[in-house]
Each structure stands twice: as structure tokens, then as C-alpha cells.
Symmetry: C2
Subunit: 268 residues, 2 copies
DNA sequence: TGAATAGTGTCTATCAGACATTATGTC
DNA sequence: GACATAATGTCTGATAGACACTATTCA
């Protein structure tokens, strides 16, 4: 970060009065996506206070200075907000908490006029890819918090312009699966190739016909998955061979991409 | 947009005082990228006023309400800022001004502590892909404005954290060429396949060895280019066959992607 | 044994990469 | 003709998609 040293600048700064201007507020909102019981879901909270008291929206809130007077980084604010609503604490010692496995990415910033009846508000939206998390707890300022199937959430009239943010989040998530290895973020630390395939099917909402092809692609991609060397304990009750376990191998890019049918249709 | 109707909400809003909180400011900054004389360049301006008076940075400024009291949309603010520094007016009647061909995309939002010595500032950065534009003019608050080769700009110590924004812009631009048809945004309305290939080479900073392959890919991609049906007037003085002219065909996606060598190396 | 799930082998049409060839222009 | 640029043709190795087959488990 660059900092001014000129003495003129110091005089200017001493005389600078930020309250002269029409105030603007900045919020950080989080679209936390996960898969719960095989359903693509998003974390929604119900507002306790006006505006939109009693209505559902994405968790979020104004950024404000901490005890030291400094504002937090945007990503830090987003992580804190998510921790507040999920009841999970982000462990600074990098312990493997459930929240530690959540992938936070900046989604987009929404700043059109009329978004908030109080004043002009610019919202920095974050996208969280999460493995199956525990039941959320209502944080301060919220009546309740709930993992909600995205198809259901899209039908709800959310507060502010959160329907637009949610739509962008879903679109981005579906796209990210195509050319990154982030599908693993929806799974626990150890998973099978079948689990991974199901992540794609659940989030895209379409079957993946290629069984062998999907496996080949996953194995051929550098740093996508790594064999653990153990088998799953039995799941389900309908029989079937026990599957090999894998864990995410830290890679990011998945190229050439695995395209969803929707994308294939779009490119003709 | 959703709006509260509850009478309790109206009372709450009447009593709401936005000046109670620590003020935050929001800026919109634009990384305008273009190709000038075969060189990948970015628009920089030199600040007239503190902080960082006399130093170079990306064009940008605080968002503030217009005459009607309403704040503009973020993208509108970015377009206005760019128009100010380039001397081009964005024609609302959609006339084919040079600025009309500029593609504006939101890049990312930067909001860490200590970005601005005056107060906490959150910057929404926009990425502009532009065809060769005229010499810029210094807008209000700037001493001068200049198209600067990106390799040179990366070496300059820019004001605020604009080096980080510029780096993100360059990275995004290089990536966008891989899987979108946005390379055409760097070219005039009519161009040749050779021109298009040169855009890739200039922005990626590496030669594309495939001549036939590149052509095939471009032609096979739906809505990438469309044959105009005319040939170029002679250019250069070294001879050679006259090329067919094409124009952008309105498509967005370029899949499977054309990968740069850098990306290929990254995926092993 | 049959059904269910996991994983491998193989064939083929397609395509990216490489390179040769043809076409059209200036000097 | 020598050279430069544009455009097309053709060969080959890799691979996505499709499908058949093997492997392991439970009822």
C-alpha cells in the first residue's frame, strides 16, 4: 500500500472532514451455498428489525470499525458474518473447523439507487461454498436462520434486492463447477468419485450421463482429487461395491472444462 | 426491487439518522485497457489534489448524488468517469460513438483498511475493454491523462492500492480472452482474422503458433465473427494478400477455450 | 442369485496441433 | 522472381462420448 509523505498532504488530511458529504453505507452480504440431504440450499435469515422486519434475506450487515477504530477487510467481514449466523467460529489457529473448509469468494457489488430505504447502500456480495454445515443459529438482529432449498428461496420475495444477488450467486456457482475444482468445497474432507459426480448433478440440476468419462476427467486433471487409500464404510442399504475415498488436492483450474448441458446448449 | 410498506417501517425510517455512524466512502475506479500502436495499454491519470497529489493512478472518484439527489448506478458512474477522462461522451441514444463500443465489466471491490489516508474507502473497480481511443484529456481534478503501456504502468508506484487493482485487471483481461469473445472489443468495428490473432498475442505477450488452428476455432465458434464481404484496403508496405473483413457477431462464450501458454503451464 | 453401486476397457468420431500448400499482394 | 501476408488442405495423435464389461456388496 502506497502512502503520502508530502507535508502539504498532511495539512490537507488534518483539515479533511468526511462528514461534509452525503453519507453512503457499505454492507457485506453472503450467499452461502451448500448441499443438505441431497438438495442445493442457501442460508437465509429473517430480519428482526426494520427495514423489512420479519422478511427473509441473505445474511449480511454494515461494515463498521472494530474496537481499534479500523475497518476490517471485506472478506474478513464476510467470514465474520457467516460465522455469526452459522454459530461456527472461524478458528484463527487454522484448526480444521467446519467453517475453515468454507470457500469464500467475492461475487459482485450491487450499488444501484433505491436498494435500501434508509440511505444509499452499496453491497459487496460474497459467495460461500460450504460442505454440509450444522443447523444455523439466529444471530443478533435476526429472528431465525435456515438452510433453504435454492428453488424455494428463488420463489421467496427477499428483502432489498437480495433476489438479484441470489440469482447471481447461483449462476456463478454453476459456472464455477465447469472450469474449477471447487465442487470439492461442497463435500466433506473425504469423499468418493460418486459423491463428486452427485455434486455436479445436484447443483446443475441435470444428470451427468458419462460415468467413465467423468472419472477419467477427474483423474486426469492435475490436483483435483487424490486417493486416500481407504474405502468407504457401508452407506445406504441397497448393496453395491464400496467406493474408494479421495480428498481435494488443492488445485484450482479444471481445464478443459466439464460443461453443463445448459452451457452446451448456449454455445450451440 | 422490494420495498417496505409496514407503517412501523415508515416511523423507523423517519427517525433514521445515517450520520450517526462512522462515515465510509465509496469510489468507482476504472482500469481502461486498450491496444495502441500494437502495445497493450492502460489509461492513467495524474492527480491534481491531495492525497497523492502529482502521482499517477487509475481514473476514478467518489460516488455522489446527482442533481436530483439520487446516486447513480455503479456502472453508470464508471462510464461517466471514463467519459470524463477520455473526452468522449456516452451517447444515451446509443449512437455509435467510440465510447459506445467500450465494454465495461465489474472487476472486483477493494475495501481493506488503510487504502486511503482520509477515511475508510471502498473502491468498486471496473474493467473497460476499449478499441483504440483518441488521446485522453485531463478531466477535472487531474493534471494529465495518458495511455500507458501496461508493462510500464506496472513499474510505476501508483497512488492508493491501484497497483493491485491494475494487476487484477490485467489478469482478468488475459483470462477473459480465453473463454469469451471479448477480444473483439479491442478492435474497431471491422477487422481481419489476423488483427484478432494479434490481439491475443499482444495481450498475452506470447506468439500464437497455430495459424490454421486459430482460424478454424474462430470460424467454428458460434457468434464470434461474421464475414463482412469486403477486403481490407492495403495496409503496411510490405505486400501480402489483402484480408477478408469481419465484424463481431454478438456472442459471448468461447468454449472450449483458447488457452494461453501460461494457463497451459499452470494446468500441467 | 439378482439388484445395486463402483470402477475399467475399448471403440469411434471429432478435433487440436503441426505442417505443407495455395492465393494474392508489393517491390 | 523474391518476399510477405492471408487462407486452405491434410495428416496424426489425443480425447470426449458411448457402451460393454468386470468387481464388490447387500438382500
Amino acid at each position: 500500500m502506497n502512502h503520502p509523505t508530502d507535508p502539504n498532504e498532511k495539512a490537507f488530511l488534518a483539515a479533511y472532514d468526511p462528514t461534509r458529504y452525503t453519507p453512503v453505507a457499505v454492507t457485506v452480504d453472503v450467499a452461502a451455498l451448500t448441499i443438505r440431504d441431497g438438495v442445493f440450499s442457501v442460508l437465509l435469515v429473517r430480519r428482526a428489525n426494520p427495514p423489512f422486519a420479519g422478511e427473509w434475506c441473505l445474511p449480511g450487515g454494515f461494515i463498521k470499525p472494530g474496537p481499534g477504530g479500523d475497518f476490517p477487510d471485506l472478506a474478513t467481514a464476510a467470514a465474520a458474518r457467516l460465522a455469526l449466523e452459522t454459530g461456527l467460529t472461524a478458528d484463527p489457529d487454522d484448526a480444521p473447523t467446519a467453517l475453515g473448509r468454507v470457500q469464500l469468494r467475492q461475487l459482485a457489488t450491487f450499488g444501484g439507487p433505491g436498494r435500501d430505504p434508509r440511505m444509499h447502500v452499496v453491497s459487496v456480495a460474497y459467495l460461500a461454498f460450504a460442505p454440509d454445515l450444522p443447523e444455523p443459529v439466529a444471530g443478533p438482529g435476526t429472528l431465525e436462520a435456515a438452510w433453504t432449498p435454492v428453488v424455494e428461496a428463488e420463489g421467496v420475495d427477499l428483502a432489498f434486492d437480495h433476489n438479484a444477488i441470489l440469482a447471481a450467486a447461483i449462476k456463478r456457482a454453476r459456472g464455477k463447477l465447469e472450469y474449477t475444482t471447487m465442487a470439492t468445497a461442497f463435500l466433506p474432507a473425504e469423499f468418493t468419485i460418486g459423491d463428486l459426480k452427485r455434486v455436479y448433478e445436484i447443483i446443475w440440476g441435470e444428470p451427468i450421463r458419462l460415468t467413465a468419462g467423468f472419472r477419467r476427467k477427474v483423474h486426469a486433471t492435475k490436483n483435483f482429487v487424490e486417493r486416500v487409500g481407504a474405502l468407504t464404510a457401508r452407506r445406504g442399504t441397497k448393496g453395491g461395491r464400496t467406493a474408494e475415498l479421495y480428498h481435494a488436492a488443492g488445485g484450482e483450474l479444471l481445464l478443459p472444462p466439464i460443461l453443463s448441458q445448459a452451457t452446451k446448449d448456449a454455445i450451440g
